[in-house]
């Protein structure tokens, strides 16, 4: 029984031990991990596989320190639920965007051009993707141990096949391929745990877990029967290739000194490479601030930076989490848990030419409402700018640009406007998955017929 099981927010007690650890467990640092996609060729085999995975699938928040444990997460696509023989009326109770799958939502999500599902790495976006398994651990040894059970379960289960896998690992210095520290911001959740921003009140549990009231005061729409839906949530999983050479070239050709180059990158990201937020350190990087978990996410925008003179309203981290800034809409209805993990080799420092290597991140976005969380954030906050008063401008880092993108960087006396932004991120694939509770995994493994 985890310590957190006894905690509860005002009026809500979260059944934390029934929730897969992968939903709420912060990423360790450092980390190694592996993503698998599986195809279920036989529903009986699929159910048996889930049954065999159950003992290795942890619930709750097993340790206070995320760097200690290793854990395995099991998720299913809509096609996967169908392949397991989930009754039709139950399938029909899932939200439409989940039923359609991420590839079908491409236009709405800005996955067009080189990010078009037609260009995706197979098997992403095909009906073959049924199950996703994620294993994350602080080191290779613990990862291998965590994966032993999965390996054994697979060997005992013909009829379920691994069709894709991807190794992920922390890059040197805990940075993304673009060179910025990530994994800093994590929302607080009532009844689960506190977040990394002390200025943000914890969100209602129903924003992240099915079966509890959400920020609208309602229960999130929940797939039926109750045992299947309750304590589950949704994942949007994306393989995002990063064009690191193009990023460096853009910074270089739009700056006249290394200092300017550093500031320009920070203005686009909203943080310095160390993780220090521009709002707290507007003019230079601050390694100590970036590394301090008590300070590096402890800020809002409204009081000292509503105009964005320090951190532009269009900067990546301010778009995807506007905090208390003045925007169109209500930020608390569009929060999400983000878990980015890097794949591929880093591009050596100073290199400006593309070496052809595939590198980037596997992004996992977790929430109980795919439509007003992941999809809203991607379409309204990343692919448009009307919510911050810059209609038509996109996220300078994560947005899908065609080489004509712009970004307004507020400054005195006159704002700077970045021109001719290309895409620095390409979607290589993605899937919407349902992350069932442990009870639901058992229910699925015991389906009859």
């Amino acid at each position: 029984m985890s310590e957190a099981a006894s905690t509860s927010g005002p009026g809500v007690s979260v059944e934390i031990d029934d929730i897969q650890s992968g939903a709420l467990h912060a990423r360790p640092s450092p980390y190694v991990g592996r993503f698998f996609l599986l195809r279920i060729d036989d529903r009986h085999a699929g159910r048996a596989m889930l049954g065999r995975m159950l003992p290795a699938t942890e619930g709750g928040l097993p340790t206070v320190n995320p760097d200690q444990g290793a854990w395995v997460t099991v998720a299913l696509t809509f096609q996967g639920l169908r392949a397991l023989g989930v009754p039709q009326e139950s399938l029909d109770s899932f939200p439409p965007e989940f039923q359609q799958g991420m590839a079908a939502r491409a236009e709405h999500l800005g996955d067009t051009g080189e990010s078009d599902p037609a260009q995706w790495e197979k098997p992403f976006g095909t009906p073959d993707v049924h199950m996703g398994i994620v294993a994350l651990a602080p080191d290779a040894e613990r990862l291998q141990k965590a994966l032993e059970h999965e390996r054994a379960a697979l060997q005992e289960t013909p009829g379920v096949e691994i069709i894709w896998q991807q190794e992920v690992h922390q890059l040197p210095g805990g940075r993304t391929s673009f060179g910025f520290r990530d994994g800093i911001s994590h929302p607080g959740i009532e009844g689960v745990g506190s977040g990394t921003n002390p200025h943000e009140a914890p969100l209602k549990a129903g924003e992240f877990i099915l079966g509890y009231p959400d920020e609208t005061g309602n229960l999130p729409p929940m797939p039926q029967p109750e045992v299947l839906g309750r304590n589950g949530t949704y994942l949007a999983v994306r393989k995002l290739h990063t064009k690191v050479a193009a990023w460096r070239q853009y910074l270089r050709s739009n700056s006249s000194s290394p200092e300017e180059e550093g500031l320009l990158g920070a203005k686009m990201v909203g943080r310095w490479p160390s993780g220090a937020p521009l709002t707290l350190s507007p003019d230079h990087d601050d390694e100590a601030l970036g590394a301090d978990p008590h300070r590096n996410n402890a800020f809002g925008y409204k009081e000292n930076d509503d105009r964005g003179l320090k951190c532009p309203a269009g900067a990546h981290i301010r778009r995807i989490n506007p905090r208390d800034a003045t925007i169109v809409g209500a930020t608390r209805l569009h929060r999400i848990i983000r878990r980015g993990t890097s794949y591929g080799p880093p591009l050596p420092e100073g290199v400006l030419e593309d070496d052809g290597a595939d590198r980037g991140l596997i992004g996992v976005f977790i929430g109980a409402h795919l439509d007003r969380q992941f999809e809203f954030i991607k379409s309204e906050w990343v692919e448009d700018g009307n919510f911050i008063g810059f209609s038509g401008e996109k996220d300078p880092v994560a947005g899908h640009h065609d080489g004509t993108g712009t970004m307004t960087v507020p400054a005195k006396p006159v704002r700077r406007r970045l021109q001719n932004l290309p895409s620095f991120v390409v979607t290589r694939g993605g899937e919407y998955c349902f992350l069932p509770s442990l009870s639901a995994l058992r229910w699925l493994s015991e389906l009859k017929g």
Binding site: P96, N218, L333, D371, R372, F376
Partner: protein
């Protein structure tokens, strides 16, 4: 620019309503609950009155995407029409909308319509979709401008006009030191607007 059937912004079934550029039209037709026309009229009057104007403007500021809205009671107090134009797709922001002052106002008015479940009810999207009547035609003079841009343009023009009213600006135009700036095509465009 062509007028298009509104594309859905969520996984929900396709919504009615016409879109032009960044704007969409949104028309609701509903039956008034028997005997509730007076209550509805009072709720509309309360938010539309002169005294309520400052609060109403503040509420619109809070929304930031609503171009206009009107309420009509017709057919001998039996039916109600709500017509508006706004940026984007209505269901994208409906949960956000429910948390605002305008959301609360509409809730009071719409509660007099048959079957309205309440603006914070999770089934409200279905009620709205069922009572939405798509326009046959929709025209707007500024299809590329969102409310946010119109406000920004208005602020920029007011500031520009104030600059034109200063004698210092006239003097700066006559100052040979500024000749290079004045000669740029971009500044010429500004001066073109300055002529009146």
């Amino acid at each position: 620019m062509t007028t298009e059937q509104g594309t859905t912004q969520s996984g929900q079934p396709k919504r009615p309503g016409l879109t032009k550029g960044v704007c969409s039209e949104f028309t609701i037709l509903a039956n008034i609950k028997p005997g509730q026309a007076e209550a509805m009229r009072a709720a509309i009057a309360a938010v539309s009155s002169e005294e309520n104007e400052p609060a109403s403007r503040a509420a619109l500021q809070e929304i930031g995407t609503l171009h206009d809205a009107r309420h009509v009671i017709f057919d001998s107090d039996t039916r109600y029409l709500f017509a508006s134009v706004f940026d984007g797709s209505w269901d994208t922001y409906i949960d956000d909308f429910a948390k605002t002052a305008i959301g609360a106002n509409l809730d009071r008015i719409f509660s007099n319509a048959e079957g309205f479940p309440g603006i914070k009810d999770p089934t409200v999207k279905d009620w709205v979709a069922a009572h939405q009547a798509s326009a046959l035609g929709f025209a707007t003079s500024y299809p590329d401008l969102t409310v946010q841009q119109i406000w920004k343009d208005q602020r920029a023009n007011q500031a520009f006009q104030e600059v034109l009213d200063t004698s210092e600006f006239r003097a700066a135009l006559d100052n040979p030191a500024n000749a290079a700036l004045l000669a740029t095509p971009a500044f010429q465009k500004l001066l073109d607007q300055a002529q009146g």
